[in-house]
């Protein structure tokens, strides 16, 4: 459990203003916001690397504000890995264990365990600069996790990676958190990461927390225009997926949606409004998802018209003005909404 109370800190050009956050035990908490709004500074205050101008930081009910970082037992991982270049991988991971009273055997055991968890056992004798970005970030994670920290602070841990490895490591972060349950604060400017990983999300801008909540709440009920603009995602839902005959069926409120994904169980997914087609009649087409629904609202967007259709879940749809006029749609009218299974983006 981490609790940040009324924390303020000036630092160069920007600062943190009156931050209040309660992160629950074992929670994966994501702070999302544009770059340069003080997200890193906030993490560094939690870690004890900066002393706040005002406010207190609690970890597990203990006030740690006056403790130096080495007494806080918090794992910290930066975007650019920051492996110690004067040590090999094994010594990097061992670094934090030196300051605790472990026997040689215990140390070896811990290094072995964490290396297996992060699949870096084959890298232990290598030099940091010979590793790829993804490998370096795994080592940085291992180095932070091996000390069994009370909390894990991740400062844009995936931002410096190539898209392919980023997605893989994102999955692994989720798996690792499932296994070891360390309370985690993860800072990012990437929506995908936030939707994919977060138990809860805080949106931050200009040194202030604008909104805190579950991902669906943040993305579907943004409390300010900034949050809405910044996230910019509509049609985001949680459902339960099962694979049947090579295609996934996701159930949500008695609605069953076809999607292309290997994931099963609880999933979060979104559908882009401009990829949904409306029609007055049912027809057979290659669009696997077709639903009858009632029009809840119509909003004029210039050349485009935004229509919300209730198909059991509220679905935002963008169509052209020409289509809109041609189909003579009106509120409360019944329409069919259809979209392709490939248009369902599962996180």
């Amino acid at each position: 459990m981490i609790s940040i109370r009324n924390l303020s800190k000036e630092w160069g050009d920007f600062g943190l203003r009156d931050i209040n956050l309660e992160i629950k035990g074992n929670e994966y908490f994501i702070i999302i916001g544009p770059t340069g709004v003080g997200k890193t500074l906030l993490l560094e205050c939690v870690a004890g690397l900066h002393y706040p101008d005002r406010g207190r930081v609690f970890i597990g009910n203990r006030d740690v504000t006056d403790l130096p970082p080495e007494k806080r037992n918090i794992g910290f991982v930066y975007q650019d890995y920051l492996l110690f270049p004067n040590m090999n991988i094994r010594d990097n991971i061992k670094f934090g264990l030196r300051f605790k009273n472990f026997s040689k055997n215990e140390i070896d055991e811990k290094i072995k365990k964490v290396s297996e968890l992060l699949q870096i056992s084959h890298l232990l004798d290598r030099n940091p600069k010979t590793l790829s970005g993804g490998e370096q970030q795994r080592v940085a994670l291992a180095r932070a996790l091996v000390i069994e920290p009370r909390a894990l602070l991740l400062d844009e841990p995936l931002s410096a990676l190539d898209p392919g490895i980023r997605r893989i490591l994102q999955e692994e972060l989720r798996e690792i958190h499932k296994k070891i349950k360390t309370t985690t604060i993860h800072v990012t400017h990437n929506f995908d990461e936030a939707i994919s990983l977060a138990d809860r999300i805080a949106v931050m801008s200009n040194g202030e927390i604008l909104q805190v909540g579950k991902p669906e709440e943040i993305f579907r009920k943004p409390i300010s225009e900034f949050v809405a603009d910044f996230t910019g995602i509509e049609n985001i839902f949680n459902g339960i997926s099962e694979i049947d005959g090579g295609i996934a069926k996701i159930k949500i409120n008695n609605v069953q949606i076809y999607a292309i994904t290997p994931k099963t169980g609880n999933v979060r997914f979104s559908i882009r409004p401009e990829e949904i087609t409306l029609s007055k009649m049912m027809f057979g087409s290659s669009a696997r998802n077709t639903f009858r629904g009632k029009i809840l609202g119509i909003a004029d967007k210039g050349q485009l018209v935004r229509i919300v259709v209730d198909i059991g879940i509220p679905l935002a749809v963008l169509i052209t003005r020409g289509s809109y006029e041609g189909m003579r749609l009106s509120p409360n009218a019944n329409v069919y909404a259809s979209f392709k299974a490939s248009g369902v983006h599962v996180f």
């Binding site: 870690a47 970082p69 080495e70 910290f76 920051l82 934090g96």
Partner: protein, 256 residues
Amino acid sequence: MMKSELMLIFFALMGFFSIVFIALPLLNMILLESPSSLLKTLQDPKVRDAICLSIYAAFLTTVIAFIFGVPLAYLLARIDFTGKNIVESIIDVPIVVPHAVAGIALLTLFGRSGLVGEPLSFFGIRFGSTLLGIMVAMLFVSSPFMINSARDGFKGVDPRLEYVARTLGASRWQSFLRISFPLAFRNILTGCVLTWARAISEFGAVIIIAYYPMTAPVLIYERYLSLGLDSSRPIAVLLLLACLAMFIVLRMITRK
């Protein structure tokens, strides 16, 4: 290559003069002395003593500059404070102080009736004509090299590496010793070599504060005055070779 490169040719010519002007006097001097005359000179105990004293005093000076300079360099690289500007200016001052002026200033302060020299003389600590005086002169002119090199070294170490070390349980002192110092080590070593070279080369400040015990540069000057150019030259060549050897070490450090 293309035509119209007259400018480059002209520049190369000007550059050639510069190189020759620096290299020729040293080469000329070295080549004038035969190995046998150098060996004979080395057998003169006064020469041996002077060269050893120079090397030894410069070495001790480097050790002291290291002990006091590295902590200051670390602070200058890591901490911002008001007046940092002025501190950095003061550190650079010895580079522009004429050597004879430095000698007079140091003798005024550390001499028998000086602000520091007088009280210390009651404890038997004397600076005039002692090894201590030589080291004070050497330290004054050479310490900027140590501080500036080490500072550049520490500046090149990402402070967040220390942050990470501290979250892993290292104290400030441990993260300094295990992370920052090893990573800045090459720059600090460069600083040591430069400090040693500047210390051994000093003549003006040393001759004013301590004519005796005689360092190699002072001996060279004395032989030149009393016996002429040809008698002083072998000693000069020996000292030069020692300095060039150290210079090659320096180059090897910085190239790597």
